[in-house]
Symmetry: none
Subunit: 213 residues, 4 copies
């Protein structure tokens, strides 16, 4: 807010940090290297961030704040849990799929320790899960989603599936379009991996046994 010209420096530091963290890992990253890449003095970093960890946390905060805000706005214009989940998945995979360094930081470096993980979860991830939860609740209420599955379980599975897509993408050397996986993942999560005729068969079986009984 009240950080006019110099906000440029803060931003430069954050951008440099993404690159360095992605390349070296959080513990492997040197504050002096971030400073160098940001073209500021080592000491300057400490005018904008409390310490090394604060750089990582701030990075995460900045990205999540924007991502969540934009995500919520996009959801307002959509109807139906199906559409909304598709939107969330697409945005999730797009955000990270468009910036591999950022993805590395989010998938790997932020999970350095339970300490990080907890703060990470406590702040923004919690909001992200709340958003998912809300959409799922809506779906269960409007009859588009099964009400027999616990909402949080569905949310976790949804997040976990997306998360693994990103992780796999990072570790794979291939540079395929991550966002394209959004639709099939949502399809899988909504319709299931089982063949429909499984159900028909089961129903048929049930009918048969029912008629037989």
């Amino acid at each position: 807010m009240a950080r006019p010209r110099t906000d440029d420096k803060r931003s430069r530091i954050l951008h440099a940090a993404v690159k360095v963290f992605a390349k070296k890992g959080y513990f492997g990253a040197r504050v002096s290297e971030i400073a160098k890449k940001a073209a500021v003095a080592d000491g300057t970093i400490y005018l904008y961030f409390r310490n090394k960890e604060d750089i990582l946390v701030s990075l995460f905060d900045a990205v999540m704040a924007e991502h969540l805000e934009q995500g919520r706005q996009e959801l307002e214009g959509l109807h139906g849990s199906r559409e909304k989940l598709r939107s969330i998945a697409t945005r999730h995979l797009k955000l990270l799929g468009e910036n591999r360094d950022l993805a590395v930081v989010f998938q790997v470096e932020l999970r350095q320790s339970t300490q990080f993980m907890e703060r990470f979860t406590a702040s923004w991830l919690h909001d992200y899960f709340a958003l998912l939860d809300h959409v799922i609740a809506e779906g269960q209420e409007d009859g588009s989603l099964r009400p027999d599955l616990p909402r949080t379980l569905v949310a976790k599975a949804f997040f976990g599936a997306l998360d693994e897509m990103v992780t796999s993408w990072i570790l794979s050397r291939k540079d395929y379009d991550l966002a394209r996986l959004a639709d099939p993942v949502v399809d899988l999560l909504l319709e299931g991996a089982a063949l429909p005729r499984t159900r028909s068969a089961r129903l048929a079986l049930a009918a048969a046994s029912g008629s037989g009984g």
Copy 2:
């Protein structure tokens, strides 16, 4: 290589390492602390492990080797992808749900850096995915699973969902029974989160348009 007389010591070091890594994180863990907890001298560690990293890697290798072996054996006695996926999920959640420290190490510490992740993936996780892939392929061939979804995508989603169950469980303070989530997760992944009538409706629609075509 260096496997001195007492395998007991090696084992004690590994058990101590799980605890220390879980509590302090890999980078925060001190080799001397592991030694102390294992009741051996600092130097003794290096009779059994090349270095600190080797402790972590060996830990992972040992657990995965046994887990995968037992998993494969159990699968041999089962029929149908549904049963097999249920077995895999249950074993996965049981393994980690029964040892929180081990779970922390697997969920958090092993993901310290892309370097770790890659080795991790390259060795055992690769095998784990291959196992999943195989079961899914079987299902697609015997007609129990949808053939239109890419196998790897299903495998990733399956793994990602389970993985997130574990991570959530670790970060949550509540000590619920993790393994109990196996069935609902498999159910979700197989049948989907959408209400069956969605399909009926679609089928009806398809039938209608089919009859009309």
Copy 3:
């Protein structure tokens, strides 16, 4: 390369290093002890030197660079190999005779290992020998030195004799004036230890046998 503001610190470290190396030996010397004696923090050492070995090498370089330069200048004003050798010997013994710690480092610590020795020889000692060689060559050409002795052999014997004077002086507890040995050593090397009449006798003998033949 890294030459921060105060050359004073670098110099303080080098002076402290001479004392500590002389007292404890290179391997016995602790970097932290050098830092303490130089009144700088341990880490500061590494702003001025790459590592512990670099301190020793830099020390040697600094001393030799100055010593050789001054030596060459002094030689320019002198005439005759006899005078020049006397100058070299005097300066050699003076340099080390005036600073016992430095002498210890040069006589003992720099010879820690063939590795050190080779670097030592390759750089400055090579120049020193070249200087000696040059003076000896001059003497052989102007007829003041025997041409039948290989120059390098004379140079080595000259250096070796001086070197042993220093080593003996260090190991002896007596604090005699080392530089005073310069003249007798040069005298010995130039005139030989044998009594002149040895030659006369030999000449006589040769004459006798010659006349007899």
Copy 4:
């Protein structure tokens, strides 16, 4: 004395030590490496030697004891300081010139620290210098050597010259015959590097001034 069969082990350890010390230097040498090369267990070393340093010292003692004893015996059959110095020089250069590893240990490793040097000097080197001193004294008494030069100075110069021949030979990669340098070195030390006519001239001058006086 009373170390029958096992003296073989002690000897094997010493031979292994020469090689390892020569290759790695005293501080770089690992006791376990010496043990391995000697084909004994690490602990066995400590049945024959007090500690690592004792191996080096014992090595030196053994070599020097034999060398000095044989040297003294050879001198008994010779007459004249010239012949005796030639014998000493030849034996000195032969001993080390025939075993480069041993030479490295004697020239470099034994000079690790003033502590070593002092012990080294105090024990055998002292005897070696006494031997030299004795031969030089004889020469001065029988009129073959100049009486105006301090005996110790001549002894040091003699030793220093030989010592430098060995050191140069070690550091040079060329494998010339070291012992062949004995004669020219003795010649240089006895007759001097200056041209004889220098003396003739001086004698002439002295004669002239003498006749004039």
